[in-house]
Symmetry: C2
Subunit: 155 residues, 2 copies
């Protein structure tokens, strides 16, 4: 599979992954380990909340976002993530939802200190089958520069 280097990416480029089907048993199993509160693990308690039913915990939704970043097409040659800004979960994730991920390149710039990489700022959208946004944020990532870009031309 081909990986895109920093030089291959343009502002406005998009890559996508998914869908990922969330099941009730996965929601409950995840929350029992990392967010064991009634609205994420107990269907009857969840029915009495403002959401009116079981919803995935925030860590679970974030984890599905990360999983889908490993499946993006086309693939970037990512060296590392630098972090996430303005991370929001505007709509709950429910059993049976099918989530897909879309990354859009917002900005790119060369690293001043490291010649092997560039910094790419992306807009992240994780949406369900009704196109409601389940997670959004912006993310800065280090993307590898094409290894031969600074090499002298072959004579």
């Amino acid at each position: 599979m081909t990986h895109l280097y920093f030089e291959d990416m343009e502002v406005g480029d998009r890559c996508t992954a998914g869908p990922y089907l969330i099941t009730k048993s996965e929601i409950i199993q995840f929350a029992k380990q990392y967010d064991p509160v009634p609205r994420h693990i107990d269907e009857e308690a969840a029915a009495r909340t403002i959401f009116g039913g079981l919803t995935a915990c925030s860590a679970h939704t974030f984890s599905v976002f990360i999983l889908l970043t490993t499946k993006l097409q086309p693939r970037f040659h990512v060296l590392a993530g630098m972090g996430w800004d303005e991370l929001r979960l505007p709509n709950p994730v429910r059993p049976g939802d099918e989530l897909d991920l879309e990354l859009t390149v917002l900005e790119k710039r060369e690293s001043k200190s490291k010649s092997d990489r560039g910094i790419v700022r992306t807009r992240v959208l994780l949406r369900n089958q009704r196109r409601d946004t389940a997670l959004e944020c912006s993310s800065n990532i280090f993307v590898a520069r094409r290894p031969d870009v600074n090499a002298p031309p072959l004579s």
Copy 2:
């Protein structure tokens, strides 16, 4: 257990939770499901990375942060999270690390539209046993106002 209401909290107040021990098997198990790349699931491959060994994936570190928020002492009467800003993972989490969470109140203000709640901005620090920061961010949360705060005085 007593929960703190919006009125009980002051700027500068802190609450803490932990420690939480991360094991190698938990790191591998989590990453196999949500970030199945060699540096998180294969010890030999991880040894050849810049980290020189197995590290927890970002979604796992975030999930431990969320788990510890459910164990904070003293407890806030949280209605909902509004999101996370400037989320960074400056140091890797390794097998055997013991993580603890510290939340500090940065700002508080009453909600203009909902009289039952206030908005509290907190600083989040997840640190290991060497006091290295594994995760940091700021978080805005809705905290319940004391139910009787707007009631007329008893005559």
